[in-house]
């Protein structure tokens, strides 16, 4: 079809000038003159999260999506330079409080690398347990968000109800439902008793039973399949090019999982498989995460069964009681100083690869610089590219299939 551009005297709408819009004015004027339609999705929009998506649509098809993140930026890296090493643990779990195990783990492992602290076996198992519980919780959370984005309210409520198991277990282990800050250099804060461990194992069976119901109502629902299949496709090459991480790169057929490549904690002592998809569309991205939940449940059972006896705090750390750090926290960590150098760890958080780099000057009790790269930030580009060429209604489906979490990406 031939197009006839309109030669009209253009006055862009007031919103372009009143609001801060991080796109060139020419682009807006150009789309205004042509057939295109620029829609601002967010930040106060039911399907945008804490960010603005500037969507340029031609008819019903998305030409381009420009993200405007940063609405929940908390300058975490700068804040970290003003706090003691130990005070940064609660700070660095703030990007994704429901997945605190993995976020603590990455930072604490960087400190342990620097100080050469040997972690007891039991502590390693408890850490892995927390990380996997957090992974299940996050995947359920994202499944709920995906469901409500495509209008399925039951698919939103059920995963949140199932996630309640996870938060209950967290409350039993750490004392809080989220933001546990439980992992500390040299181990974990407290030991986990046998009663809690058996409760965790029973919980995995109860959850499996409920997940089967969830599969019937949402995962295998023809409506869900129709909405997600073939939508937001990223090929293997594209996924690698845009630096997509985590379950989303595995859904494109790239077998990359930090837990398998550079095993940390107890991951090399238990049986599990890296879940890989082939299609690279929204539905595969979702199914990969569903399968990861099953893998994690299996891993948790193994961890509980094989939990070794012993102390949970390393001998390199001063503590009166090697099963409970309370009472000697100040003595153990207040004057923690890292030797001069740069320490980097990679962690497989629920949504993908998480990188921490601590730069120490060797004399201060505070880090000289901390770099944190969260998975959300890494796959934002992939998310934007996946939207191109799809319909406006698919924007939310793709958003949900990536489980994009602005607080995590903005840090």
């Amino acid at each position: 079809m031939e197009e006839y551009p309109l030669e009209l005297a253009i006055t862009p709408p007031r919103e372009y000038e009143v609001y801060f819009v991080p796109v060139p004015k020419e682009l807006l004027e150009d789309s205004y003159k042509s057939d295109d339609f620029v829609v601002f999705v967010g930040p106060q929009h039911g399907g945008s999260g804490h960010m603005r998506l500037i969507v340029r649509v031609k008819g019903d098809f998305i030409v381009e999506v420009i993200p405007d993140p940063g609405y929940v930026h908390r300058s975490m890296e700068k804040l970290a330079e003003t706090k003691l090493y130990i005070q940064n643990i609660p700070l660095f779990e703030r990007p994704s409080i429901i997945d605190f195990g993995n976020y603590n783990l990455g930072y604490v492992r960087a400190i342990e690398n620097a100080l050469d602290i040997e972690v007891p076996e039991r502590a390693k198992y408890i850490r892995t347990l927390l990380a996997e519980l957090g992974r299940i919780g996050t995947h359920l959370y994202d499944a709920g968000i995906l469901a409500v984005f495509i209008g399925h309210t039951t698919g939103f409520m059920w995963p949140f109800a199932v996630r309640e198991f996870i938060t209950e277990i967290f409350a039993r282990i750490t004392g809080t439902r989220v933001t546990g800050s439980f992992i500390i250099p040299g181990g974990v804060r407290r030991d986990v008793d046998e009663k809690t461990l058996s409760a965790i194992k029973r919980m995995t069976y109860a959850m499996e039973h409920r997940l089967k119901k969830f599969e019937r109502i949402f995962i295998k629902n023809p409506n869900t399949i129709a909405r997600l299949k073939g939508v937001g496709v990223l090929t293997k090459e594209e996924a690698a090019k845009f630096g997509v991480v985590g379950p989303f790169v595995r859904a494109c057929g790239i077998e990359y999982d930090v837990r398998a490549i550079e095993p940390y904690e107890a991951y090399d002592e238990i049986d599990w498989e890296v879940v890989v998809g082939t299609e690279g569309d929204s539905y595969t991205r979702f199914l990969v995460r569903v399968e990861e939940i099953n893998q994690s449940l299996n891993m948790i059972r193994q961890l509980v069964d094989n939990m070794p006896e012993g102390e949970v705090i390393s001998n390199d750390i001063f503590s009166f009681d090697k099963k409970d750090i309370r009472g000697s926290f100040f003595e153990a960590y207040a004057d923690l100083v890292l030797p001069e150098g740069e320490y980097t760890t990679l962690t497989e958080a629920a949504r993908g690869t998480l990188l921490y780099t601590i730069v120490s000057d060797g004399e201060s009790t505070m880090p000289y610089r901390v770099r944190i790269i969260t998975p959300g930030w890494m796959y934002l580009r992939g998310f934007m590219e996946a939207c191109k060429g799809h319909r406006l209604a698919d924007l939310q489906a793709i958003y949900g299939s990536f489980g994009y979490f602005p607080p995590e990406a903005d840090r």
Binding site: I150, T153, T154, N221, N223, R391, A393
Partner: protein, 360 residues
Amino acid sequence: MFEELMSIFMGDSVNIPLIQPIVDTLMGIPLINLIVAFILWRPIFHILVIPGLLGITIILLWIVYWERKLTARVQWRVGPKEVARRAGGVIQTLADGIRYFFQEVIAHRDAHKLYFIQFPLISFLPVLLPLLFIPAGSVWGIRTIYALPIALALISLIPVFILGMGWASNNKFAYIGTVREAFIYFAYEIPFIISVIAMTVIYETADFFEIVAKQSIIPGVFINPIAFIVFLITLLIATSRLPFDIPEADQEIAFGPYVEYSGILFGLVMTLPYEKLYLLSLISVILFFGGWNGPAIPILGDLAPALWLFIKAFIFMSIVSLTRSIYGRYRIDQTLKMGWSKIMALSIIGLILSAGVAIW
């Protein structure tokens, strides 16, 4: 003049033995008797009481509450409970309505103010006008053999008012929602009308009274189930219910044509799909479930058939609400494709089946 009016009203009034003593007492009081006679006058009783305004009010208060409660029970929740705790929160909708009523109505700067405020109000016209043609047993408004086509034509006007609202809102999301509404309108309207024609072919009439009389033994849904399936799906699309909640998809376009409405105006536009659902439920009950056929209740007199129709529509709507908790939302292109191919083909099959039944 009073005498003349009274004779007109009394000449065609509804007879309900249950309230006859009260009516008799009120008839003795001057002026009050005129009002009572007016309300009991058959056309006015039809439009004001049942299935008219009072019926609509009861249905609206119930269906919003019921939908929320049912969805909540499916989703392992409790649902509305706080307002009137002992009754399980049944007056939640009323409380919401009062809240809407006292909220500020904002007509924003870019809106076409006149139409913006006018359309929600006059959109009651295509809701109440078709009601005049839908009889409820011995209570009827306008009696004509063309009642069915007239009622359908008037119901088809509702999307026009929604388009007007979207246009007057002058908002991007409202614009997208309006365009979606327009697309969807064409996709469902034709199969919908074909399925209704299929039923009129079976009954060989478009008069509601004869249609109901012919279903006294077998309800229409058993004679032509295919037409009923088409009717049900198109009803879901027409009333913007999930899985076809496309013009007002709140996660995508933030309630589409209604995005700019607030306060009581939003309350009014929000009830519009429910009112449409009520009208279509009445028609579907008449076409497929034997209308007002039911066991006679002598004490209710003329009210009994109307009550049966109302109860059947009530149950039908309550069941239709269940789709909200089972399905997500289809995309507009999927719905259009479905409407123009599968549902259309199904409706034509239904028509052929009806023709076969009629010949046989």
